[in-house]
């Protein structure tokens, strides 16, 4: 599988193993293609999770991570792509319906937009909230004071 991917995409794909778990590092531009290929040709029919990691010091600040599982192969794989702040990622809702809420959560927590998502809005935090709490520059005590004042009628949520 890895060889095939390498042949197709060359340096855009990097297959690695850490602690016995396989993962692919792929280029931003290849996300849609590779995810589709993994689902359709490699039978990764179950998208376990979509999440992101924030590295503020890097040029491309975000790692977006897809955890995929194949029932047929009984194998799990992670796909990782680096995204710059403000860049958007193709949505995988057409591939796996489960990505709907998972991508919304990534957007809610990191502010990463997914192109082609049917309903790109916040999920856990209220719609009017400012800021994305899982970014590293968002302090643990920080909150949207304005929102709290207006909607809850109190000075601070603490």
């Amino acid at each position: 599988m890895v060889a095939k991917l390498k042949r197709c995409y060359g340096s855009g794909v990097n297959a690695l193993t850490h602690l016995g778990q396989n993962y692919l590092e792929i280029d931003h531009s290849l996300i849609a293609e590779i995810l589709r290929l993994l689902r359709d040709e490699e039978q990764f029919d179950y998208c376990v999770d979509v999440t992101a990691v924030h590295y503020p010091k890097r040029e491309k600040q975000f790692d977006v991570v897809w955890v995929l599982y194949s029932f047929a192969r009984n194998e799990r794989i992670r796909v990782k792509a680096q995204i710059a702040d403000g860049a958007s990622v193709p949505s995988s809702v057409p591939l796996w319906a489960t990505c709907n809420w998972l991508e919304r959560e990534v957007y809610d927590m990191f502010g990463i937009k997914f192109d082609g998502h049917p309903d790109m809005k916040r999920i856990l935090l209220p719609d009017g909230w400012k800021g994305h709490p899982l970014r590293k520059d968002y302090g643990i005590l920080q909150q949207d004071n304005e929102w709290v004042q207006i909607n809850l009628g109190i000075e601070s949520g603490q």
């Binding site: 376990v48 999770d49 955890v67 999920i123 856990l124 009017g128 590293k136």
Partner: protein
């Protein structure tokens, strides 16, 4: 942003005065509603009593567990995971400890493994009992609730005796266990198994062949195995739709490969099958417990783990079969004492996504049944 009404997507604060004119009736169910199992809010679009569609509004219990994790050491974060799925806290702890152990490349000693499995399976039974009681209550049978709570109490007593807590147990430590099993632990667990076996028959007697229960659950909230996989639905819901997949068998963790047990599956993927699957799961858990109690070895309960944990740089995804489905932990370590990022893959959150699909075309009463059968815990949905 400044308008408080942005809280309510369908603008329910000013009900449409002409709603009776149209065929569509919008009903807001929750966040305070007896049958939404916490603070789930469901906005239903109805045609009469038929559900045209629904939208879940979640996040009322959001506590930012993942953010907290980034500001705690690995050991300090351990109790927090209990607060997600507080009904199955032991499973949460097992998943977290194993994930960090993998990151540290240590393995808990065999005795610890066995005790872990016993407690986790006990917790699975407790979780299923709580599910059964509340689910039956939603459908209108009030008595099973008291039966299941009576028997769940015995499990909580064992937990309390083992680690001092009943619900949010914090039973496991990274690298093994802190507490040795108390004296008479094995005997009590054995007694419990013998005690609860006839009780499960009792629940089944009340419900399995009850005509009204059959009518209320058969053919309600049907979801096919294919849809389950597409929606990422796992756990008993997936198995009831005919997919024989259980992480304990597929990608064994802890020492589950040592035990002999079956994975129950359903055929129709309806509420009744999910009920049956969970009932069988309880019995299978008892089987695992019985085997584990017999085979529990002597030895240390804690592996050699450094006092200050600094896992090497790297990432790990580890998942276990929680009572509700696949519970996964994605941990990124930057080599410091605190996790750089912990992502929890909550089964309830993902399973809840299927609610819309399962409820379309059903009646309001079925929405209640389906919410119950999905077995969600809002602490885990919202984290």
């Amino acid at each position: 942003m400044t308008d408080p009404k942005t809280l309510s997507p369908l603008d329910l604060d000013t009900p449409d005065k002409t709603f009776l004119d149209s065929n569509e009736l919008v009903i807001n169910m929750g966040p305070q509603h007896p049958a939404t199992h916490g603070v789930l809010r469901v906005i239903l679009r109805l045609d009469g009593e038929k559900v045209l569609g629904l939208e879940c509004v979640i996040g009322y219990l959001h506590r930012g567990v993942e953010k907290i994790a980034e500001n705690r050491t690995y050991t300090m974060f351990n109790p927090y995971v209990d607060r997600m799925d507080y009904v199955a806290a032991v499973s949460n702890g097992l998943g977290y400890c194993e994930a960090v152990e993998k990151l540290l490349s240590v393995e808990a000693p065999p005795r610890a493994q066995y005790i872990r499995v016993i407690l986790t399976e006990l917790n699975r039974i407790a979780s299923h009992q709580l599910w059964l009681g509340t689910h039956a209550l939603d459908i209108g049978a009030i008595t099973p609730l008291f039966y299941t709570f009576r028997d769940r109490e015995e499990i909580l007593k064992i937990f309390e005796k083992y680690c001092g807590a009943r619900l949010t147990t914090h039973a496991f430590r990274i690298g093994g266990l802190q507490y040795e099993a108390y004296e008479g632990f094995e005997k009590e667990v054995r007694n419990f198994v013998n005690f609860v076996k006839p009780k499960i028959d009792e629940y089944e007697e009340l419900l399995t062949t009850n005509r009204i229960w059959l009518e209320r659950t058969k053919g309600v909230g049907v979801i096919s195995g294919k849809d389950c996989i597409a929606l990422g639905v796992t756990g008993p819901v997936l198995r009831a739709s005919g997919v024989k997949w259980d992480i304990r068998k597929a990608l064994p963790y802890a020492n589950y490969k040592n035990f002999d047990f079956e994975i129950p599956t359903g055929e129709n993927g309806d509420t009744y099958d999910r009920y049956l699957v969970r009932m069988v799961e309880m019995r299978q858990s008892l089987r695992i417990i019985e085997q584990a109690v017999e085979a529990i070895p002597e030895g240390p309960i804690m592996a050699k783990v450094p006092k200050v944990m600094k896992p090497p740089v790297g990432e790990i995804y580890h998942s276990i079969e929680a009572p509700k489905g696949e519970l996964g932990y994605f941990i990124v370590s930057d080599g410091s004492t605190q996790p750089y990022r912990i992502r929890v893959r909550p089964p309830s959150f993902v399973n809840l996504q299927a609610l819309d699909m399962m409820c379309r075309g059903q009646l309001v009463a079925d929405v209640i049944a389906v919410i119950g059968t999905l077995d969600i815990v809002l602490g885990e949905v919202d984290r």
